[in-house]
């Protein structure tokens, strides 16, 4: 990891503080969603909001972390991680957007199966379709670096088109810039 190497000179410390840029005074706005959950119903809600926000022209970032990051593992990637614990974790909870479970009424997959059947019957777009729409409308899905490290998930394990991995400070920076925070 690169560490800033610029020496701290007395000039740098005593230099006058530059005037605030106009952008800093006018919040850029937008929406900043933290997708923490990997549950099917919450993933669905997040994708509905993200795609709609994109459609409304709202600059939108979705910071995906903890269980939410499992949703963004590429389809077909069954086991992630380097060591046995990371591999076990992914084995116990299958990653990928097609394998989300309901937080209630999961019943060994019967619940999610019925949800998907009902969604088809009533023409409700699936989380995967909504994710694709959101991406097309300019929504950026940003993976959490710390979660990637902890679960041993590599950049190439994640779906294409995601943003650069970042940390909590970057998310809070979006909020400081005027984006409305949502935690799902």
């Amino acid at each position: 990891m690169a560490i800033a190497e610029a020496p701290v000179t007395p000039e740098a410390v005593t230099a006058p503080v530059p005037a605030l840029e106009p952008e800093a005074e006018t919040p850029t706005g937008g929406l900043a969603i933290i997708l923490y959950s990997g549950d099917l119903e919450k993933t669905w809600a997040a994708m509905i909001l993200a795609s709609t926000a994109g459609a409304m022209g709202t600059p939108t970032k979705v910071f995906v972390t903890f269980w939410g990051l499992q949703t963004f593992v590429k389809p077909g990637k069954r086991i992630t991680g380097e060591n046995w614990m990371q591999k076990m974790m992914s084995a116990m909870q299958r990653p990928g957007i097609a394998h989300r479970k309901l937080s209630k009424m999961n019943f060994l997959g019967m619940g999610p199966w019925m949800m998907r059947q009902l969604a088809k019957q009533y023409n409700v777009a699936s989380p995967a379709e909504l994710m694709e729409m959101a991406t097309l409308m300019g929504v950026e899905f940003v993976p959490c670096q710390m979660t990637m490290d902890m679960f041993g998930i590599k950049r190439e394990d994640l779906m294409d088109g995601m943003g650069e991995p970042v940390g909590a400070a970057t998310y809070l920076g979006y909020v400081d810039d005027g984006a409305k925070p949502l935690f799902i």
């Binding site: 994109g54 459609a55 409304m56």
Partner: protein
């Protein structure tokens, strides 16, 4: 009643929230300023949703009607 013929058409009949809005936004993206899109939808929630979308995006809702459960909206790109 004037009937504006849209420069683009979106058939969102049968689709549920939020797809009518998402599909319309995609169609509007491809339009030039001042051009219109005609949307057909059957989702009753789309009436309020299109009003909100118009307010947020600044794309004007120039026509709105309902006929036999089919809602028709014409939006003009800002």
């Amino acid at each position: 009643m004037s009937m504006v013929i849209g420069d683009a058409k979106v058939d969102a009949r049968g689709l549920n929230c939020p797809m009518p809005i998402v599909k319309t936004a995609q169609a509007v993206k491809a339009l030039a300023s001042g051009q219109t899109v005609e949307v057909l939808a059957t989702d009753p929630g789309s009436v309020k949703d299109f009003a909100a979308w118009s307010k947020s995006t600044g794309n004007e809702l120039v026509e709105q009607s309902v006929d036999g459960g089919v809602y028709r909206f014409v939006m003009r790109k800002k």
